[in-house]
Symmetry: C2
Subunit: 201 residues, 2 copies
């Protein structure tokens, strides 16, 4: 990222270029997730990706740019995954349930996500904020529409968006950072019960 905070990812022109760029992002996910930002070197990333070190600079200006793009890319992939899992579900609570299942499944397949996003607060605070704000904005709009459509109780959609996002984030962390191995379907059932009924007996 340059000092003005703008990013101009070089768009790969060919399918092969795009495959190499994706391989570099996947390698950055593994290496930075494992070693942390400070210890991860561009050499380790290109070795992990199986490309020459010079190839890196065709796609990214440096480690800061690949890190920022990685955070953005993981957010996009995650949102895309959740959108795919909930497409065609008209009932909002049902969509919450399947969205949470898709989220927890994604997290299980990307165990480095938490460290990387969490480290972004210190390495690229704008990318960190954008990651959660983008989620919250989409979430809020969906909850507003569901309240207007009478699918959920009326209520402050932004606070609810952050509350539900917090539930998902915490249960993902419980699994990948705290190593609790409750099957995803059981976690989803418990949370769905909370969504539908609340806690009151």
């Amino acid at each position: 990222m340059d000092k003005a905070g703008t990013i101009e990812p070089k768009e790969p022109k060919t399918a092969r270029g795009e495959a190499t760029r994706r391989a570099l992002l996947g390698a950055a996910e593994k290496v930075i997730g494992r070693l942390g930002y400070a210890e991860a070197s561009i050499g380790a990333i290109t070795r992990e990706a199986g490309v020459a070190q010079g190839t890196f600079y065709i796609y990214f200006k440096g480690k800061d740019e690949v890190f920022s793009e990685l955070v953005r890319d993981m957010g996009r992939n995650l949102r895309h995954t959740i959108t795919g899992a909930t497409a065609g579900i008209s009932d909002r609570l049902e969509a919450e349930r399947e969205g949470l299942r898709a989220f927890l499944t994604f997290v299980a397949g990307h165990p480095e996500l938490y460290r990387i996003v969490q480290e972004a607060l210190f390495v690229d605070a704008d990318a960190y904020r954008a990651y959660f704000s983008t989620f919250a904005d989409g979430y809020r709009q969906g909850l507003e529409a569901a309240a207007l459509g009478g699918e959920v109780r009326p209520g402050d959609a932004d606070i609810r968006a952050w509350a539900l996002m917090g539930i998902a984030r915490s249960l993902g962390e419980r699994a990948v950072v705290f190593g609790k191995t409750t099957p995803i379907d059981d976690v989803v059932d418990s949370v769905y019960d909370l969504f539908v009924h609340g806690l009151k007996r």
Copy 2:
């Protein structure tokens, strides 16, 4: 912290010693919260506390020890605050409401809490894990007792504990990291509605 992971905080023998130790922890909270762990120096911490640099070493072996103790101390203070705010409340949902209010009020008064705890994942992962596990354990026991006592619906108390902890964490971060200024009482009312009724219309 020494290599074995044990900590032997030197117990200040006098009230004055305890006051100095607390001043150093308060200064560490401000300085490390503002600058991050790597940039925060012991000199900056002692200047902030208004004590001579050598005094630091009467209380802590080094920056790593003051950081670990700070994370532990913030967790203890926060739990103490929540316990105080919910003491004598027999209804569990009422206790959830007042606990959340106390949490969000504590966070507003300790805006550096988020950066510090989040950075602990990279500086002292054991302190990070202990911070959340200790919360989750207490939370789970409270929810188990409430379910047994018929105050809340039966359900997996550990998953609920992490879900509710996630709600609080997310709404605190919404305020201090994302700068959303919804009054605490409004946030608490919205979440309480979710606790009592769920989302279903």
